[in-house]
């Protein structure tokens, strides 16, 4: 199928003897938005980190944008150029200004000319509504601003896919909204997105599918409507009642 941009076939991974991912099958089509939910330790982070090879899987196949992930460094480089990632802890480079955080990868990885890279960075900082912070250092920004800068930084590589690993979990409540807002914008523009998040409002609003993970397996996969109103598995019901219950 040509419009599958991410394809995971029977992916398994172990930490020592502990199986973190057990026969994961997942297909993401171009432009699709997937939300991954599940209890702590169920393997959500590990799963998304396998997609851009921050973690190596032990068995099965992962094909991203036509490239099969192998040990070959060139394949990994190809995939990482097309896949942007946003972390819970932002991982901005503290020694560089926000603008330089955004231009560094285009300049050195994509070899974009300086003028162009800066224009690109300002464009995305504008979209993330933090263009006025461009010349500050990360430590001078609030958490919400830092996370939006991190999203802008990833977008500057013009990725085809964006991975999010709990992008709002490290934020104060009043900053979660501003980050989710720009993520919704991004979804509306047609970006392919895989988001680990517990923001169920976000899942309802933009997700095409919600995958529920437990103990290294995807045990339920459904469109948000079905997922929230009539989950099939007991584990999912329990999880939903815990997360929506209060």
């Amino acid at each position: 199928m040509s419009d599958a941009i991410i394809q995971l076939d029977n992916v398994c991974k172990w930490y020592g003897d502990f199986a973190v991912l057990k026969n994961i099958n997942l297909t993401v089509k171009r432009g699709e938005k997937i939300v991954i939910a599940g209890p702590s330790g169920s393997g959500k982070s590990t799963l998304v980190r396998c997609i851009n090879r921050l973690e190596e899987h032990d068995e099965g196949d992962i094909v991203v944008n036509g490239t099969t992930l192998t040990r070959d460094v060139r394949d990994i480089d190809t995939v990482r150029r097309e896949v942007g990632m946003v972390f819970q802890q932002f991982n901005l480079f503290p020694h560089l200004s926000i603008l330089h955080n955004c231009t560094l990868a285009p300049l050195w990885v994509r070899k974009t000319p300086k003028k162009e890279a800066e224009a690109l960075a300002m464009h995305y900082l504008e979209e993330m509504r933090i263009a006025d912070q461009a010349h500050k250092h990360p430590a001078q920004l609030s958490g919400g601003q830092q996370q939006r800068a991190a999203i802008a930084r990833a977008l500057c590589m013009n990725p085809k896919i964006m991975l999010f690993d709990e992008p709002t979990s490290a934020l104060d409540p009043e900053m979660i909204g501003e980050v989710l807002e720009v993520m919704v914008d991004l979804a509306r523009k047609g970006m392919t997105m895989v988001c680990v998040t517990h923001e169920m409002g976000f899942a309802r609003e933009v997700a095409d599918r919600v995958c529920f993970m437990d103990a290294g397996e995807i045990i339920e996969e459904a469109d948000p409507e079905t997922f929230f109103t009539s989950p099939k598995r007991e584990r999912t019901k329990l999880f939903l009642s815990q997360i929506l219950g209060h």
Binding site: L54, F87, N91, H95, A105, A139
Partner: protein
């Protein structure tokens, strides 16, 4: 029913931050006599200063001899013997470097001083270029000028190098070479390639486990026995290599500390953006790691600078060596000559080390500007 509570309208706030007045007495109280313990400490330190400082100043300046050309001038007085320093100044600065060629040393000194000053004065532009020239062009030019043999400059053998010149050459080579070598060793020690890692560990641990003096002895007398026939390395070059490698091992451990302090997220952020190993090391990892350990790096450099005096053990006359040799010379033996020499040498070492310390402090201030919230 109670009327709804309305928030008070925001009042305009026009007050300036109050100025805190302290005054001399307030300062004294806050800094010197804030508690009984601090008062006792203050008095003790004051007593110590009154007891120790005037006699030293008396000896060094007031009772000192300033004029004269021979040791006779110093024989009758109980103070410092400055003529010794004046008479031997040439040796202290150049060693036994041919007098006709000393202008070459001067040129090297002037270029070095101008270049360093350029880097230290914040308002001057193009620091990158000056720094690069200082690290590449300058050593080349200095080498040609100091050793001669090119462009019709007569050769001055390294045996004649000495005094401040030798101290600065050894210190500069040690400091400049140990940093990049240390970086490579530190990276090697954290490498995922077992061969690279093991070699780095062995190198670091061997050099760190041997005293500097042993290393110098080996470089001066043992190394020639192992070198293949026909290959002869100048004794100074051998000593310089030994100093550079020895210090690189220390530098490596300091830098490794900086690498370890870097959160894993930084490596992951870089990898996710597509940076390869060398790119992320050069652009993201090292700038942060080196900055974290800058105080330790400078601390190492200062200690390296002072350790250069150990080369006198293998027959070189560095700054301290020249002064010591001069003071034991029959022309100048006297109760105060050696002391004057040591005081002068100590003061010179202190000036250099203190400058390094101040420069690093200002660099730290500049680099930490982005941290302020």
């Amino acid at each position: 029913m109670t009327p709804p509570v309305t928030a008070a309208p925001p009042t305009a706030f026009h007050r300036k931050r109050p100025v805190k007045k302290i005054g001399v007495l307030g300062w004294l109280h806050a800094n010197l006599f804030s508690s009984l313990f601090n008062t006792v400490l203050t008095l003790l330190v004051l007593g110590l200063l009154v007891w120790a400082v005037p006699p030293i100043l008396d000896w060094a300046f007031i009772d000192a001899v300033w004029h004269g050309t021979t040791r006779e001038a110093c024989e009758t007085v109980g103070g410092a013997c400055w003529p010794f320093i004046f008479q031997r100044f040439g040796q202290i600065v150049y060693g036994f470097y041919d007098e006709a060629a000393r202008w070459r040393v001067d040129v090297v000194y002037v270029f070095g001083a101008v270049g360093l000053a350029w880097l230290m004065i914040p308002s001057l532009p193009r620091k990158g270029w000056v720094g690069a020239a200082l690290l590449t062009l300058y050593p080349l030019v200095s080498f040609v000028l100091l050793s001669g043999g090119w462009f019709g400059l007569p050769v001055v053998s390294t045996e004649k190098w000495g005094g401040l010149l030798l101290t600065l050459v050894v210190a500069a080579v040690g400091i400049v070479a140990s940093l990049p070598l240390g970086v490579l060793l530190a990276l090697g020690r954290r490498s995922t390639l077992p061969v690279v890692r093991i070699l780095s560990v062995v190198f670091i641990e061997v050099w760190r486990g041997v005293p500097m003096i042993t290393v110098l002895f080996m470089a001066s007398s043992m190394l020639p026995l192992f070198l293949p026939d026909g290959l002869e390395l100048d004794k100074l070059v051998r000593a310089l290599i030994a100093v550079a490698l020895f210090n690189a091992a220390y530098m490596a451990e300091v830098i490794r500390g900086g690498l370890q302090a870097l959160p894993r997220g930084q490596y992951e952020g870089a990898a996710a953006l597509g940076f390869g190993y060398w790119q992320s090391t050069a652009l993201i990892v090292l700038p942060q790691a080196l900055r974290t350990v800058l105080p330790d790096i400078v601390n190492n450099m200062i200690s390296m600078f002072k350790d250069t005096s150990l080369v006198s053990i293998i027959g070189f006359f560095d700054l301290l060596g020249v002064i010591q040799a001069g003071a034991t010379d029959v022309d100048w033996t006297g109760p105060n000559t050696a002391l004057t020499g040591y005081l002068f040498a100590g003061a010179l070492y202190w000036v250099f080390c203190f400058s390094m310390s101040r420069y690093s402090a200002s660099l730290e201030r500049q680099l930490s500007q982005g941290d302020r919230r």
